[in-house]
Symmetry: C2
Subunit: 365 residues, 2 copies
């Protein structure tokens, strides 16, 4: 038996996903003593805990420690120096949705520090950042995994990578990529029954905590566009950015610039007729309307917006706030490989991060 190896872990972000991840990590360490995982850094946007001699921070007390800390977080360059200066290999777990942290991935990776993250920004920003990230990883041998950047813990990224790496050809990817949009349309235009008014459903979704604080951050379609950007790039398309293809916003033009989410919700009922019309047009064809993203690889077309589906289509039959992703490939032919289930939530998002961490651990020798 080789001596017990140690891997240093640095966690950036201690919000909803970060807390769930810490819980899963603590349980993991109890089940799997090897390799020994040492939490040597944890930070929120304002505070951090770490020590020069890399003393491990207790997993169960980590949140309390960082909340009561008086240290500021290290900037990316200092964090890279700190982690690269240890004798053990290091993994950064980025549980933020910060563009600044994402921009530092090439630096971390070039210093041999692996990364696991649900942060979409790194992989759906500029194409140059995407290239810098994977070039840095290829050169240093550090790993970068981001399963939860699309569909939370659902095996979306890993499946797409497996398809591509084994030589299958992706022809089309189509699906419902937003839990919020899924909930809204499954309630507004159900396959049986009549559904509520659009503005009422948006209000309900917000009250249930299914939307961002300002629901326009869901309704503008950008979150879905970011996920599509990631999948399109993994399918081989050089998508420049999440705004370089058509994205339909469900925010009425007149409400784009109102001051707050509350004001938006107050004024939204005046625009219900528009959505009602779209729904009725679909019903006339015996269909329902859904907010989907699709990637047609051959024609290089990526788009996000409303589409009509037959009642028997798996996208129409979706329930609750589930996501569904269909991969059409050369090998799978006319019946796609489909993955479906909750695509948001702290525990399932953290699960994707934890499972990525396990993959990196199995590869770090």
């Amino acid at each position: 038996m080789s001596p017990v190896r140690q891997i240093n872990i640095a966690i950036i972000g201690a919000g909803g996903v970060g807390k769930c991840f810490l819980g899963q990590l603590e349980a993991l360490v109890q089940r799997r003593p090897e390799p020994a995982l040492a939490l040597v850094y944890i930070s929120t946007s304002k505070k951090a805990v770490y020590s020069k001699d890399y003393s491990p921070i207790g997993f169960s007390s980590a949140i309390a420690s960082v909340v009561s800390s008086s240290e500021a977080p290290l900037n990316p360059s200092d964090l890279a120096d700190y982690l690269a200066g240890a004798s053990s290999k290091a993994i950064i777990v980025d549980n933020t949705s910060s563009q600044d942290v994402a921009d530092a991935y090439p630096l971390f990776l070039s210093r041999g520090i692996s990364i696991v993250t649900p942060n979409k920004k790194a992989f759906s920003g500029s194409y140059k950042l995407w290239q810098d990230i994977f070039n840095a990883a290829a050169q240093s041998g550090a790993r970068v995994y981001h399963e939860s950047s699309v569909g939370a813990g659902l095996p979306v990224i890993s499946t797409l990578k497996d398809l591509v790496e084994t030589g299958d050809e992706i022809t089309k990817i189509e699906g419902v990529f937003s839990g919020t949009m899924s909930f809204l349309f499954n309630s507004f235009a159900p396959t049986s029954g009549s559904g509520g008014k659009w503005s009422a459903e948006v209000k309900k979704a917000k009250e249930l905590g299914y939307t961002e604080p300002d629901p326009r951050d869901d309704l503008n379609g950008l979150d879905v566009a970011r996920k599509l950007t990631i999948l399109a790039r993994l399918s081989g398309l050089e998508v420049e950015s999440p705004t370089s293809f058509p994205v339909q916003s469900l925010i009425p033009k007149e409400l784009e610039s109102v001051a707050s989410g509350d004001e938006f919700l107050e004024k939204l009922p005046a625009f219900d007729a528009q959505m009602e019309e779209t729904k009725a047009a679909a019903e006339k064809e015996g269909k329902v309307v859904r907010f989907v993203g699709s990637i047609d690889v051959a024609s290089k077309q990526v788009k996000v917006g409303l589409e009509k589906f037959d009642l028997s289509h798996p996208i129409a039959a979706l329930k609750g706030s589930d996501n569904i992703i269909s991969f059409y490939t050369k090998r799978y032919g006319s019946n796609p490989l489909i993955i479906q289930g909750a695509g948001a939530g702290g525990e399932v998002t953290a699960m994707g991060v934890t499972s990525d961490l396990l993959k990196v651990l199995s590869q770090l020798s």
Copy 2:
């Protein structure tokens, strides 16, 4: 940069899956020069090609070479000696469905030889064999991956392992695990229209190549029972064997011992009334009948057989010969994580094997 590493590959089995796998492997090697993969052994049930100095066999000529070879395959013990005697690490790709080869896995693994395979026999045989396999792997550090043993290339095993390893609790697994059964029931009891006679559908499935040469080998439910055994064990249940839980056979008692598959097909129409009755009983409740497997983890109940489903249930809505697998877990709550798509066929089965091979390659240092 470290020097180019070499990994030796030994392929057992050159049938349908074996040929597709070789094609994928050849394409893979062209795309990824490192690590260098050397095919040092390939065998059918009667013949083999290999050389004492481990000269690589050409991927594209491997099938022709083994067909025209006059060498007999090595027995497991000699094959282990041969592979372990090289300076490079070795991976055995078992593309057979042989119990004899499966029985040798503990030996191979204990010698540090990793295994990737679609062979169900190793993981659904006796519980002792299962334990021996994973104990041998844990002790030597060799890897064993078997994605295609359930659902071919669909990410079933990897998803279940990720759920379990990250600390989720599996409560129930349910699904259609046989492409043959899927095709038969989607045709016999479609959600719209009336479907054909049972015996006619079985005959059609056989003509289309969707059944084993003797369709009874599908209708006895054992193939599904083997897959359930694997998933139940991965979920933490110590299932003794695929015959240690209730498995409903669709072979009429009177036809169990007729001499041939052809005679069986000839005599099957006399028993159509039984299946027609089952179908009508489901229709009375507004449901359709499907052949499913299920695992209830809390009550430790595993069973395989006919069940009734609402027309809107994803299992009822399945198409063609697709598989569907629903994972109910603590984290995912009442809406399961669902994986759906082709669960049989040479290319998609080989894809699971190739993707397992890539995982092992990423872990062998």
